[in-house]
């Protein structure tokens, strides 16, 4: 129980450190480092406590439930392998903290750095300890995100931004692949629990999806571990502050990939596919990485490629997968972490003290910083694989596996040679590092005068180098048990204990090591001078800068190509979009109706009426004419549209829909005026646009014509078939039966509108109100086109006297019609419930009455006499309608429950008193307000332009005067 809690605490500690660090003052370097360091140290203490059960072979587990239904639980799990890794992370983490404390400038904002660093540590530890493969991916992605923030810490530099972004993109993509792999894996195994997955190797390998899982899994691992060809993000990540590099590229980030390879070897390994993919990639990376490292001029660049190369080595071992190989892989994970961390720190010191990392400028530094120099020399020797240092032993183990292990494939046969070649280059680049930086003549053009760094900054390096030495000399005594424990936890408890020693006798691996040492020294001796003067990168290969290649590919894949495809698949023009919609509608109709659209066995028919046909001949002429003339003869088009509308009204009336006819007629009038109001602001179009006569335009029109005809014919066909089918029993019958008895009105359509389905009307008037308000709001900010401000030529000839003249006689009649229309509105309103009419029709009638006055006079004249506050009318109308609806609440009925009754008034007799009438009054008020508002808002634009014109002319005359 305690151990379970300890596991949780262990994961929580770095996050706690992150939170603590983020709360300190910006300049409190010491505090942040101390808090973080102490919390990590506490972690080490916990690890020490856990060592006992772990060394007993126990696997510790602890679970927090998060989303159990998805199998997403925070399960933590620790065995020997994890213990070793976590200890490494914590230990190096503390050293990095100490180092960073002195490395970072006083001006650096502390909290962010330490918080990110610690959160990253937490994510790494969480990943290592995850006992749930989905949670593993969660932490995995967290390390990607946090490393992004760390690499981009000095984000004012372009390199840092690019490096961070690239790292995120590469590792993030890998993480997504890993996610899918884990999901499928969980699917195959039936659980996301790591233990169950680890136990289900045979099932997984036998599954048809195995290659897919493996591929996705390896993509995840390789991207993270910077295996070729995904290695390029790692050198780019060198733009990070050195402590970050030292941490990310030694013990953490990049090691996550190899950790996973080793961890999942029992599940996914032991197949030929695995061997070729993993060992092949590892060897390629090993060799190429070491070659490139030799040719880098940047200190950190050299170390970065060395890291890549060493990760290749570990990967290759994981691919081989023999007991010895796994043990060697684990050993090299630790060793590499130790010497690479120290080397990065040393490089950081050099950079810090000299102001450059360019090896061509650095020289003879041993005289300025003998201690640092000595430390760096030892660490490089470890990196080169010099005996008595830790790197030598694990590399020796690798050579042994390369040489002794066989499965008979060509790759297997070439392993020893490749390993030796890589060894040669490793020696050469290590040598170059030492020789060029610390020896030779004193550098003259350094930005700073170098000297030893503060001693505390050197302490971590010293400690790490000490570890190199101790492990190198006494491997079996120091790391042996831990490594064996770790290997057991991966490969199985029955694994025989393997002794790790420096001396195994004079054998093939030793020969390979000696060849590598000798040839490496010879190689550097031969090439050293030329490398310094050459370009950055190996011959031939330097032209292909993987990073640049990647960026170009990325740019093509994530921008240029998508843009092309996006443009091809989409459009921003309206016409194609509308055309698509029409075509899709036609398609939908065809797909659903093709072959099954047929008349009823005995179709309904009403007799042919020649007058009706004649009227629709008119309607058709008007419709087609409106379409034909809408471009160049807009006015004619409006007139024709009016004709088509009129025939539509007639049809409604003819086919027993008087309400529709009345409403459509009134709307027709208002629409005509609206269109005319709009017409005034459109550009004059007198001459045909040249382009319209060209062939492409003709083809476009022909195509649209065909589309339109097909769509029209389709709609007509559907309408015809529907009309000839007998009406099926529908809800309409109920309305007819109950309109009078239940709704208290004889005009069923009106009863539906104000009672049965009053909620529709309620929504509909809201639409009107919204549109009114929108029109008003939009026109408040209206700016007409300059040419529209010019006086229209028809008007130009007429002076104001002529306007008064022109309107003198007709305006009399138009004024007379004002009260007549009001009476008509009242008539339509009051009889609506029983006979054709209603609030809407009445409202439009009143607004037409107002409109007529605007037509008969000018705006100023009318508004001096009639005060219309349309928005007020609208608000009140809405509130009346709403209040009528809510009124029903008082009687315990739902919204819009209407009450109808005939009230007896003496002398006058029965008067219908339906609450529906009040609702209709609301509709009326709203319609008046909205319609008037729309018309007047547009009309006022002319007034505004007139004012503008007046102001303009006043301005010009003033200028002339001045």
């Amino acid at each position: 129980m305690i151990e379970e809690n300890l596991l949780l605490i262990l994961v929580g500690l770095p996050f706690a450190a992150a939170i603590a660090a983020s709360t300190v003052r910006a300049s409190a370097h010491g505090a942040a480092a101390w808090v973080s360091g102490l919390l990590l140290a506490a972690g080490l203490a916990i690890l020490a406590l856990l060592h006992a059960p772990i060394s007993d072979g126990q696997v510790l587990r602890s679970t927090l439930h998060w989303v159990p239904s998805l199998g997403l639980n925070l399960t933590f799990r620790m065995d020997g392998f994890v213990w070793m890794f976590v200890t490494l992370v914590f230990a190096i983490g503390i050293l990095v903290l100490v180092y960073a404390r002195y490395y970072l400038s006083k001006a650096d904002p502390v909290p962010r750095f330490y918080a990110f660093l610690m959160a990253f540590t937490g994510a790494m530890v969480g990943m290592l300890m995850s006992g749930n493969i989905l949670m593993l991916v969660v932490f995995w992605e967290l390390t990607s995100i946090l490393s992004f923030l760390l690499i981009g810490y000095w984000h004012q530099g372009q390199a840092a931004r690019d490096g961070a972004r690239m790292a995120l993109i590469v590792t993030g993509l890998g993480g997504l692949c890993l996610l899918v792999a884990m999901l499928i894996l969980g699917q195959i195994v039936g659980s996301y629990d790591l233990d169950r997955v680890l136990a289900a190797g045979d099932i997984v390998r036998g599954d048809p999806l195995y290659p897919l899982v493996l591929g996705l899994f390896l993509l995840g691992c390789f991207t993270k571990s910077a295996q070729m060809p995904f290695h390029f993000w790692l050198p780019g990540a060198m733009a990070a502050p050195t402590p970050v590099s030292a941490f990310l590229h030694s013990a953490t980030m990049v090691k996550a990939g190899v950790f996973l390879l080793v961890r999942f070897f029992p599940v996914l390994g032991e197949t030929e596919l695995w061997f070729f993919a993993v060992t092949g990639t590892g060897m390629l990376t090993l060799v190429l990485g070491s070659v490139i490292a030799l040719f880098r001029h940047d200190l950190k660049g050299l170390l970065a490629y060395s890291t890549i190369s060493h990760l290749g080595l570990i990967t290759a071992l994981a691919g081989i997968g023999s007991n010895g190989a796994i043990l060697a892989a684990m050993f090299h994970i630790v060793n590499h972490a130790v010497f690479k961390a120290s080397l990065f720190m040393a490089a950081g010191i050099i950079d810090h003290e000299t102001g450059t990392r360019d090896m061509r400028r650095l020289s003879g530094l041993i005289r300025f910083m003998p201690v640092t120099g000595a430390l760096a020399i030892v660490a490089s020797a470890a990196m080169a694989g010099v005996p008595l240092l830790n790197g030598f032993i694990s590399k020796e183990m690798f050579f042994a596996e390369a040489a002794d292990w066989h499965n008979g494939t060509w790759l297997d046969n070439s392993l020893p040679y490749l390993a030796t070649i890589a060894g040669i280059f490793a020696v050469a680049y290590s040598l170059r590092f030492i020789a060029t930086v610390f020896f030779g003549p004193e550098a003259t053009d350094l930005p700073k005068v170098p000297h030893e760094p503060p001693s505390l900054m050197r302490r971590p390096v010293e400690l790490l180098v000490l570890v190199c030495l101790v492990v190198g000399i006494l491997p079996g005594l120091t790391l042996g048990p831990t490594l064996n424990l770790a290997a057991q936890s991966v490969l199985g408890a029955d694994l025989p204990y393997k002794d790790i020693a420096i001396w195994h006798g004079f054998n093939l691996p030793l020969v390979m090591s000696l060849v590598a040492l000798g040839a490496g020294v010879a190689l550097y001796a031969a090439l050293g001078g030329r490398i310094a003067t050459g370009p950055e990168g190996p011959p031939l290969l330097h032209r292909i800068r993987a990073q640049r290649v990647f960026e170009r590919i990325l740019l093509s894949l994530t921008w240029k190509l998508p843009r092309i495809v996006h443009r091809t698949l989409g459009t921003e023009r309206l016409q194609p979009q509308l055309r698509l919609i029409v075509l899709l509608t036609i398609a939908a109709g065809f797909v659903t109706l093709w072959g099954s659209l047929r008349q009823a066995p005995s179709p309904l028919a009403t007799g042919f009426n020649p007058a009706f046909a004649l009227m629709w001949a008119v309607g058709a002429v008007c419709a087609v004419g409106a379409a034909w003339l809408a471009k160049y003869h807009r006015f004619a088009s409006v007139v024709l549209l009016g004709g088509a509308g009129l025939v539509t009204c007639l049809t409604f009336a003819w086919a027993s829909a008087p309400d529709l006819a009345v409403t459509q007629l009134l709307v027709e009038i208002v629409t005509t005026v609206l269109l005319l109001l709009g017409l005034r602001w459109l550009p004059k179009r007198r001459e045909e646009i040249e382009e319209d006569k060209l062939l492409p335009a003709r083809i476009r029109r022909a195509r649209d014509f065909v589309i339109a005809v097909v769509a029209g014919a389709g709609l007509a066909g559907v309408a015809y078939v529907m009309m000839t089918w007998p009406l099926i029993p529908n809800v309409g019958d109920w309305f007819l039966r109950n309109a009078y008895s239940e709704g208290g009105g004889t005009n069923v359509v009106n009863v539906i509108l104000v009672d049965f389905r009053a909620f529709d009307t309620f929504g509909e008037i809201t639409v009107l109100a919204i549109v009114g308000v929108t029109v008003f709001a939009l026109l408040r900010r209206f700016r007409p086109a300059p040419e529209s401000i010019m006086l229209d030529e028809e008007q130009a000839g007429l002076e104001d006297r002529t306007l008064a003249d022109a309107l003198l006689v007709p305006s009399v009649i138009m004024r007379w019609m004002f009260p007549v229309m009001i009476v008509l509105a009242a008539y339509l309103f009051f009889r609506g419930h029983d006979l054709p009419g209603g609030g809407f029709a009445a409202g439009v009638t009143v607004s037409v009455a107002f409109l007529l006055q605007y037509l008969a006079h000018d705006v100023r004249w009318v508004e001096a006499r009639l005060t219309v506050l349309p928005i007020r009318w609208m608000g009140i109308g809405l509130l009346i309608a709403g209040a009528t609806g809510v009124g029903a609440f008082l009687f315990g009925y739902p919204f819009l429950t209407m009450h109808a009754q005939y009230v007896d008034i003496p002398l006058i007799g029965q008067v219908p008193a339906a609450t529906a009438l009040i609702f209709d009054a609301g509709v009326f008020s709203l319609v008046v307000g909205a319609t008037v508002l729309m018309l007047i808002a547009i009309a006022h634009q002319s007034l505004r332009t007139t004012r503008m014109r007046e102001r303009d002319s006043a301005d010009t005359s003033e200028k002339e005067a001045a």
Binding site: I581, T585, R598, R757, F759, I770, T774, A777, G892
Partner: protein, 543 residues
């Protein structure tokens, strides 16, 4: 829920209605009063929605799914209009409220002064959206669609300007066309079945005579097109990015729900009418949803990558989100199980909140540099490759001012949530869908795999696109940080806090979604409930 009128159900429609109408009577200069009314209304609607959500959870007895009915005008179901609240609609109501409050607060920081009658339009939009979620009648749905569209036209144009007017013109033209399609579809459905009531429709369709079936399908297909236009399905979604981008920040944030209305209606009607029990019509349109949804996701993430501005990216993310839910819905309709549906609903919730937050972030982020950052992000990539100086690295980090830190963290949270990266809720939703596809999508293996790939790719594209812009905005710009009011950043933080809550409480939410999915796939509960809903007058008579 209970006999007689239960006015709570209509409150999400009436509250914004009365608020909007009342504010029309107020003078435009009394902005403080309007803001107060508006805020009160939004909070009240949200609380009502939450209460409805709690009630619709029901109990063990009701199969964890209580359906509430509201007979408007006290007319029995197939004749009058009925409002129905169930788990799904209650959830959408809550989501609407959750988006509205931050958007309104953000607008209060200044946007509402940019034009006339902002608050009324905002309330009417809420009314329309809530109405569309609640109504159980096809034509009434049309009316509420029009209410919300009309309000959205107004809000989109709020503030004026060339971009808005141009985007608005396309938006209006296309939606008017869509509305006409809706009408054609509705009338065909009425002509073929004789009813407009969704519940009755679900009863009629399984027993519809064969001769009438094609007509009904045609109607459903055409109506479906109208919904899909609103849901932004490819290839009928090209208007969407421009329109959403053109809208003012709070408007765009609110628009995040608009495509979801289309998605909601598609899901609601599909499961009601074309569910497993629909006989010859079962699964109608599933292929279209799957193919269209996937194409939308693809188009969306290509758009994210191809875009130069953050606004356009966010708009394309809207497409990704709605395409994902549509395709997932299609898979469920084609025979997939509750898991995909539940996860898709979770994803819908999460992505909508995140997109809304992103829309609110865009404007403050690009305030100082006038949105150049987003532009530079690509041009630097595209053209600066070879000239990049091997500059001396800085050795001192920049202190990031508080505003930028908050903006940056918020942006980061949005990116993570939208890309479906762990640990935020987007990841959980995506995991759920992926799991569902791998287990339940076996009926359509090729399509399932394609969708898996698309989901991963879209997440990746989101990451690449947004990080590109984020880096340029937060890391590469020098100079003064933007001046941002607390009132502008608080809503974003609130939305992200919601995302975090959603993440932590993912199991509870997913459980709710699972029950919702179960309930939605049993249309008989809905249909029988609606048609048997008692009138208040009858309740009175029997007492």
């Amino acid at each position: 829920m209970s006999l007689g009128p239960e006015h709570l159900i209509i409150a999400p429609i009436l509250i914004p209605f009365f608020a909007g109408a009342l504010m029309l009577v107020y003078d435009e200069r009394q902005r403080r009063a309007k803001l107060t009314i508006s805020l009160v209304a939004v909070v009240a609607s949200l609380l009502t929605a939450v209460e409805l959500l709690i009630r619709s959870k029901g109990s063990e007895l009701t199969g964890n799914n209580d359906i509430g009915f509201y007979l408007l005008g006290d007319w029995a179901a197939p004749y009058g209009i009925v409002l129905v609240v169930d788990r799904l609609s209650a959830m959408m109501l809550v989501l609407t409220g959750l988006l509205a409050l931050p958007a309104l607060l953000y607008a209060a920081a200044g946007w509402h002064r940019q034009g006339q009658h902002f608050h009324s339009l905002f309330q009417f939009l809420l009314m329309g959206v809530n109405g569309a979620f609640l109504t159980g009648d096809l034509f009434n749905l049309f009316v509420f669609f029009e209410v919300l569209l009309a309000a959205s036209y107004g809000l989109l144009l709020h503030g004026g300007g060339q971009l808005r007017v141009r985007g608005g013109l396309h938006y209006i033209a296309i939606n008017l066309t869509g509305s006409l399609l809706f009408l054609i579809g509705v009338s065909l459905v009425y002509g073929a079945t004789g009813t407009l009531n969704m519940a009755q429709l679900s009863m009629i369709v399984p027993v519809l005579p064969e001769a009438r079936l094609p007509m009904f399908h045609a109607g459903a297909a055409i109506m479906g097109l109208a919904f899909l236009i609103k849901a932004g399905i490819w290839p009928m979604s090209f208007w969407l990015p421009t329109a959403y981008m053109a809208g003012a920040a709070p408007v765009a944030a609110m628009f995040a729900i608009m495509t979801k209305v289309g998605v909601y209606v598609i899901l609601r009607l599909s499961f009601l009418v074309f569910g497993a029990g629909a006989g010859a019509s079962a699964g109608f349109g599933a292929e279209v949803l799957i193919a269209g949804g996937m194409a939308t996701v693809a188009f969306g993430f290509l758009g994210v990558l191809a875009s130069q501005g953050l606004g356009r990216m966010a708009a394309h993310l809207v497409l990704v989100s709605s395409g994902t839910v549509l395709a997932a819905g299609g898979f469920v309709l084609a025979g997939g199980g509750a898991q995909i549906f539940a996860a898709a609903l979770f994803y819908l919730l999460s992505s909508t909140l995140a997109i809304s937050a992103l829309f609110l972030l865009i404007e403050p982020m690009s305030r100082e540099d006038g949105g150049i950052a987003a532009l530079l992000a690509l041009t630097a990539d595209a053209y600066g490759l070879d000239e990049r100086e091997e500059d001396r690295q800085p050795e001192v980090g920049l202190a990031i001012p508080g505003t930028l830190t908050v903006l940056g963290l918020s942006f980061g949270a949005c990116v993570i949530a939208l890309a479906g990266l762990p640990p935020l809720s987007g990841f959980i939703g995506k995991i759920g869908i992926l799991q569902g596809l791998l287990t339940e999508g076996a009926a359509t293996p090729a399509l399932s795999w394609a969708f898996v790939a698309l989901l991963i790719l879209s997440g990746f594209a989101t990451l690449v696109g947004l990080v590109r812009v984020g880096i340029q905005t937060f890391w590469a710009t020098e100079g003064e940080p933007p001046r941002v009011l607390a009132l502008e950043i608080a809503p974003v933080v609130a939305l992200i806090a919601l995302l975090i809550v959603l993440t932590i409480k993912a199991d509870v939410t997913l459980g709710y979604m699972r029950d919702t999915a179960e309930a939605v796939s049993q249309p008989s509960i809905y249909a029988e409930g609606v048609l048997g809903a008692p009138r208040a007058a009858e309740g009175e008579a029997s007492e």
